[in-house]
Amino acid sequence: MRKLVLAATAAVAAIVAGQVQAQSLTMAVGAPITSLDPHYHQLSPNNAVADMTFDRLVNTDGKSQQIPGLATEWRAIAPTTWEFKLRPDVRFHNGNAFTAEDVAFTIARLPNVPNSPTSFGIYSRPIARVEIVDPLTIRFHTHQPYPLLPLDMTNVRILDKETHENATTEDFNAVRAAVGTGPFRVVSHRNGDRIEFARNDAYWGPKPAFQRVNYRMITNDASRTAALLAGDVDFIDQVPTTDLANLRRDSRIALSEVVGTRLIFLGLDHLRAANENSPFVTDNDGRPLGRNPLKDVRVRRALSMAIDRGTVTERLMEGAATPAGQFLPPGVTGHVQGIEAPAYDPEGAKRLLAEAGYPNGFRIQLNGPNDRYINDGRIIQAVGQMWTRIGVRTAVEGQTWAVFVGRAGKAEFSSHLIGWGSNPDGSHPLRNILATVNAERGWGASNRGRYSNPEVDRLLLASLTELDEPKRQGLVGDALRTALEDVAVIPIHIQTNIWAMRRGLAHDARIDEATRAQDVRPAQP
């Protein structure tokens, strides 16, 4: 009898516990959120949290495809005019109605957030004038034909004119101004520690599964995994590759993964001319070489062929990456058909080196960060091993990102490892990494190897004002192909985004790495 009562009590307790769990979700993310102001700092973790509170005119699905958000449809009605039809009957968390006025206000605010280290003003810069046609129709007049405007709008979270007219970044951080149209309301915010959300029951879109969300920041990888295993959190992002094998075996844990859009690649010194010394290249006795071997495409190709990408992804990344020959994975807009990951061919690489006049190789130093990308310090060591095997004796130096990125920006290295988290359009890496550095056009801002190819520049320029989408994609694809066949950079792999959760939850993985509560729900039994 007593046993029966105990069992019954236990069963009731389990049911109650189950219900409580279904109502609230505790997530732990690896990167700190620096601000709740959606226009203050262009940072993926901030954007992910902003997506829980705010909406964009154009939302993106898990594959980064554009889907209707606060705009139901959009089209270019003239070469320099985009028209957006807005979603009716949408209300902000405080009950204010959403109208075109709010969109106009948001666009005006973008470049005017004081002290912003990375302003969202770049998304309003192409817009010459905003025209409100009626409360649910808005037109953007651009300076030039501008095909990327809808893409830009996927980065702009819409604010409420009435609420945010005088709101400062501090007001957002203090929660009182963190008012949007999104699926969750912010309840409380403790800087660098946690943000608490409650479901917005009046949300226009699909209703999130959880009523309350506790969004915690645990930056240490091992601690984050430990918190999941200990049951303190239900869901974590940025699962360390070292724990993957174990988590896969653990019956209490489920994983969700998708090939992302972050390419890890090597940049090479294109700045020093063929008859100049590259700073970290010497001959086999450590003396200056008198020329820059990296200007020879055969050497670049040899270095690329020397890398056993399969081993890097299988052994070092434990399968959490895919060998790559270009910036974006298949299935994403900017993927170029027919460019495969270069095959591993050490013998061919040696032949190419000999052809280029380096039968005995040379010495080089490979630089990279060791605290930025997944296993970055390990990857440069592995590449060092592989290059050394074809006769290019490689020293490896890993530095903290703070030190590394400044030096890389000044093109101080002969070869360096770096990553690029691309948006789904091929013009993004093209413009920033492969185009000739040109401050006036805003090109090559992240071209840390100073690659320059007039043909690539010409194709890019043509694509930027091409409103015919298939034609534009063709131009972008041709430009990418030209640069990659010239081995402008050496792609290694594209990272897989991995989340882990307690069994019983399901998650829609996103290629843009964003960790958002609306993508998590109880698994269907």
Partner: protein
Amino acid sequence: MSVYLLRRLIQAALVMLAMSVIVFIGVYAIGDPVEILISPDADQMERARAIAALGLDKPLWQQYLSFLGNALRGDLGRSFVFNEPALKLIGQRAPATLELAFAAMFLAILVGLPLGLYAGLRPDGVGAKAIMAGSILGFSLPTFWVGLMLIMVFAVQLGWLPSTGRGETVEILGLRWSFLTMDGLAHMAMPALNLALFKISLVIRLTRAGVRETMLMDFVKFARAKGLSPRRVIGVHVFKNILIPVVTVTGLELGSTIAFSVVTESVFAWPGMGKLIIDSINVLDRPVIVAYLMSIVLMFIIINLVVDLLYSVLDPRVRLESK
């Protein structure tokens, strides 16, 4: 006495001035914060705008002078990353670190003093040997490793304690403290122990060394010869003498515990100042780094002053020089 205090305060101001110059130059030398903060989408124009917005386009000496001017009015600048006053950020994080540090020091004295006393009084006993061996382990193990071991054992394997983070908080005087709730204490147990381990060993060793030396001193022999009870000899005469080094070191270590809780805080995801500073260094958030260091320097100066004053109270042989 007041002359002495005044001199110390002037010195303190000079130290803080020197510190701010060093940090300014140091951070400048490490790298360019804009390179780190900038989004991948930003082009050169946007970069130039960001540099100007953060005031980094001016020459370093000009940046420093404007910082100094504001600092004299109590404004240590706004965080590049959070766009909040640096002092406010630090103030928000301070309670978490303070309660952790005090808990650690409390643990250290609570555990270390009796053990050290025992080990010092019976230096050849098995217990004393075991205590000393334990104390050697205590400062041999790297903090981060112990931290992870604690999490592995007590959170993952046994499930007794929460693995990371800070528990429920209660608001007192506008600040949030977690040591008043059970949940808060449960969260604090492991990080506090982790942080305390080194200090416990230190207190044990200092106490033991002090006891052993003092017990051989003439005044102790004399007190014993006079027939005072062992309890009184140890409790009053010995204890008073060993307190000097213990107080000094505990005082000094309190400062360093607060300043150096970086590792414990990052292993246990403890949202304190240590984590703030390491995050700020990683993104070269200079206003926060400078403000944090100024606060730490101020705190150290106060601690040192208090320790020196206590010193002169406890040991009349040391005099505060006021000429």
